[in-house]
């Protein structure tokens, strides 16, 4: 029964729909003093969903959602950060590095996120030494 439940639950993947609105974490709120564009707000919704999917181990689904977020707002640096995380989880160092490099460029003004990006960079270097 347990095996059956695991098998069935594996097939029934929960992918949050864009219409779902998961709670925002502190790091997902807009940088203080920043005026939000509508597409930035929309893109961040998808970034959140991508983050949730990564936390649930649904890497391919997360990449799909983060790519959607990128299409809406290509300057959303957090998307690049999570894309790098996703490719790290897929053990693809080349793509992880590329997305991390993009994240660094777009998040260089945000101290909190820049630290995360640099930590990620170190993690990539360490993982693929």
């Amino acid at each position: 029964m347990l095996i059956f439940w695991i098998a069935v639950s594996g097939c029934a993947v929960f992918i949050p729909s864009p219409e779902d609105t998961p709670t925002m974490r502190i790091e997902e709120q807009l940088s203080p003093g920043k005026q939000a564009e509508p597409r930035e707000i929309a893109s961040l919704q998808l970034t959140k969903q991508g983050r949730m999917l990564l936390e649930n181990g649904k890497v391919d689904e997360a990449i799909t959602v983060l790519e959607q977020a990128l299409n809406i707002h290509p300057s959303n640096g957090r998307n690049y950060y999570y894309l790098s995380e996703a490719w790290l989880m897929k053990n693809n160092s080349l793509q992880a590095k590329e997305w991390n490099h993009q994240a660094e460029m777009y998040l260089s003004d945000d101290k909190y996120w820049l630290k995360k990006v640099l930590d990620q960079k170190a993690k990539i270097r360490k993982q693929f030494k």
């Binding site: 707000i41 793509q95 590329e98």
Partner: protein, 756 residues
């Protein structure tokens, strides 16, 4: 007398023996024949039962508050997604109600490779072309982002050109089952494949009415006829049908046979495509899955089986209703529904949803996609496995691209009679590709003016000279040593090439002997470009081209710098994407996922990027190419209504054989080419022939033109320089100082010698 009697007995015995022997032989023969039939039936039923065409879908569309949309294209898209206008609040999936600036939609179910969502009613409020709010009407919740389902853009049909959506008998509402039985074979669950009572009843009815009023065929016989046999009316074929029906009944249970019947039966035509099975029929006639059918709708569908085109609600609603009501009475007579249910259904009007005839959308893109699929799937697989192929195409962008191209070419022909041709395959041609530069998504591809005339894809298959559209790659190569303020020579010069002398010319005379690099690119000055190229080295430029993945080999000749060799337009677009994507080149993506009919993802493609140049170099190139638009050869964009920041490059080849414009923002890139397939002159530059098409396209896509610009990276700095010397400006001395950007490694250190 006795002898006579004995010989009579012997004769009778012999006749009896021969008769019995004959019967035994016939029975054995029949049994063997039925055994052979059972092998055929088993083979067909245990293997794949139907060819299910694979479907190609566009990308889904995301909507959010604050977004600007092209309302005309948006409503066209809703129509293509089979949303129907109603004059009241939507009550069923697929209905829309427009009231001023408010749009109420009852969404269809969403099904993509990675998610499924039940449809729900939603209200979208617009202010002009901008979405103000999106709210669920059932829960009053605000919706921060709404996903509209992908649009079916093509089916890979086999020869049969059939559409069906398979259903299991458990999914079929019981009253649809009753309706089919009442309409076609009420004793299905009593007989064994052939129904002698039914045959006799039909015979009696037909004799009574003096014509064929009723058929005596059972469902099983109909299935045998449709599934296995040819439609000719011969006794032999009828006999085979009897045997086949009886064999099927021996091999399979009633529900299995009924399920196949429900998925096989023909329900009419949608243009050139045949609709088969109750699953597809319920969508075609009522816009809903079979489980959602009401009693009246289910009986309407059952009534079509006898003669779908004769009883179709699209052809004769009154006849359809009469047929429906006849069957309702039959069902009630069999005591399968109550009087109240029957009366309610009788009173219901026949309300079909209407349909859009099938037509191939984005045909050049489909061909490009199909060219990649044979790596994984044969044409037979595509026509039969019922795969779902999800792509990057945005159908609104595709429509805008096709229309802009057709209108632009027509305008050119109208303005210049020398461009007109009588034969359709010799007419002026063009091509457009639209991409999202960061992701590489191909949003639209129009490989020619009219696919029905020419299927040659001028985006992916053509090899054309880019002319000045290649110059950005020369200037990029020069950024290693030169800056936007470096002075280049505009003096006529002779170069030796393979023992011959070559002297480049400017298209239009330029007075200055020297031009700043920025101005030289903006005005597309040939002399200055060649000067730069010779200083940088032609081999370096070839290396740049290789880095940017131009596949056609280039020789290190001076004419290379003016684009006098061939490129594939898709490769040129991809190369420009690198500038728009901060130095990263995306892989052009057309297919996102392939899913089998059970929903299992077979293939998935994600973005792949590769850094080719630094963000600083990309930023400077974007700035230089913006000057092309603000001050250079593409400045006419402003008077064509393009008021948001754009970078771009025009291109014109010798003899005006090719006219190009490639333009982009951080959100979108589009390449337009105009020319004749046979190389005849277009008699116009890129700015005149191609640029207007680009402008018209972009104005139709407010979703993609946010007005944002590129972010300045850390390795780019700003300095004030003297516009005459190109060196650092001396305060209060240089008469025309201006701001210029530099790579940190190349910042000028010397002050202006002219005004020092």
């Amino acid at each position: 007398m006795g002898q006579k009697k004995r010989s009579k007995t012997v004769l009778l015995k012999r006749i009896l023996v021969f008769t019995v022997l004959g019967l035994v032989i016939v029975i054995i023969g029949l049994a063997l024949y039925m055994w052979n039939l059972s092998t055929v039936i088993d083979k067909r039923f245990s293997a794949r039962r139907w060819s299910m065409p694979s479907r190609v879908y566009s990308d889904s569309m995301l909507l959010y508050p604050g977004q600007t949309v092209n309302l005309k294209l948006f409503y066209e898209k809703l129509s293509h997604l089979e949303y129907r206008d109603v004059s009241r609040e939507p009550e069923m999936k697929g209905e829309i109600y427009r009231k001023g600036s408010v749009l109420d939609i009852y969404l269809h179910d969403l099904k993509t490779p990675s998610k499924q969502r039940e449809g729900f009613p939603v209200r979208i409020v617009f202010s002009d072309n901008q979405i103000v709010s999106i709210e669920r009407m059932d829960t009053n919740q605000q919706v921060p982002i709404l996903e509209l389902e992908p649009e079916e853009i093509m089916l890979f049909f086999g020869r049969e050109r059939e559409r069906r959506q398979l259903v299991s008998i458990n999914q079929v509402p019981v009253y649809l089952i009753y309706a089919v039985l009442a309409a076609e074979d009420s004793r299905f669950y009593q007989h064994h494949g052939v129904d002698p009572r039914g045959i006799l009843r039909a015979l009696y009815t037909n004799i009574r009415h003096g014509g064929v009023r009723q058929g005596g065929s059972t469902l099983t016989q109909q299935l045998a006829k449709n599934y296995f046999l040819t439609p000719e009316r011969t006794l032999r074929r009828k006999f085979k049908e009897f045997l086949m029906a009886m064999t099927m009944e021996l091999m399979y249970d009633k529900n299995a046979i009924f399920e196949i019947y429900l998925n096989e039966i023909y329900f009419g035509q949608k243009g050139s495509i045949a609709i088969h099975g109750v699953g597809e029929a319920s969508y075609y006639y009522f816009g809903k899955p079979v489980q959602g059918l009401s009693l009246a709708e289910a009986v309407t569908i059952a009534g079509l089986i006898k003669s779908p085109n004769h009883y179709s609600p699209y052809i004769n609603p009154e006849r359809c209703k009469q047929r429906r009501n006849t069957i309702l009475h039959e069902i009630y007579k069999n005591e399968w529904i109550t009087k109240e249910e029957r009366d309610f259904a009788l009173a219901s009007p026949v309300k079909s949803v209407g349909y859009t005839a099938y037509g191939k959308k984005a045909p050049y893109f489909i061909d490009y996609l199909a060219g990649q699929l044979p790596i994984f799937y044969s044409p037979e697989d595509l026509a039969s496995l019922g795969l779902s192929i999800y792509t990057t195409i945005d159908t609104q962008v595709q429509m805008a691209a096709e229309r802009a191209l057709e209108r632009g070419l027509a305008r050119l022909e109208k303005a210049n009679s020398a461009l007109r041709r009588l034969e359709p395959d010799k007419k002026l041609q063009g091509a457009v590709i639209v991409m999202q530069p960061k992701t590489g998504y191909i949003l639209a591809m129009a490989g020619g003016r009219d696919y029905s005339v020419s299927q040659f894809n001028r985006i992916t298959q053509a090899r054309r000279q880019p002319g000045s559209a290649f110059k950005p790659f020369v200037y990029l190569t020069g950024l290693s040593e030169f800056t936007p303020s470096s002075l280049l020579s505009n003096k006529p010069k002779m170069y030796e090439v393979a023992g011959k002398l070559w002297q480049p010319q400017n298209t239009n005379p330029v007075a200055e002997n020297g031009l700043r690099l920025r101005t030289a690119l903006a005005t597309s000055d040939n002399l200055a470009t060649v000067d730069l190229a010779m200083k940088v080295g032609l081999k370096s430029i070839v290396n740049t081209a290789l880095t940017f993945r131009f596949s056609i080999p280039m020789a290190p000749l001076p004419s290379l710098t003016l684009g006098a060799f061939e490129v594939i337009p898709l490769e040129l677009a991809r190369a420009f994407c690198t500038f728009a994507a901060d130095g990263v080149q995306p892989y052009p993506l057309s297919m996102k996922a392939v899913v089998d009919e059970k929903g299992l993802i077979l293939e998935q493609r994600h973005l792949k990027i590769e850094s080719l140049i630094s963000p600083g170099e990309a930023y400077i190139m974007n700035s230089l190419l913006r000057s092309v638009v603000t001050d250079g050869t593409a400045r006419s964009l402003a008077r064509r209504g393009i008021t948001f920041p754009v970078a771009g490059k025009t291109g014109t080849t010798n003899g005006y054989r090719d006219a190009w414009f490639v333009g982009y923002t951080p959100d979108i890139l589009a390449l337009v080419w105009v020319g004749f397939d046979n190389g005849d002159s277009v008699y116009a530059e890129g700015a005149v022939a191609a640029l207007p098409i680009w402008a018209e396209l972009m104005k139709a896509l407010p979703r993609y033109t946010s007005g944002s610009w590129f972010r300045k990276p850390p390795d780019v700095v700003t300095r004030i320089i003297c516009s005459q010397s190109g060196q650092l400006a001396v305060k209060n001395r240089c008469p025309e100082p201006l701001e210029e950007i530099f790579l940190k490694k190349n910042v000028p250190t010397k002050y202006c010698p002219l005004h020092h």
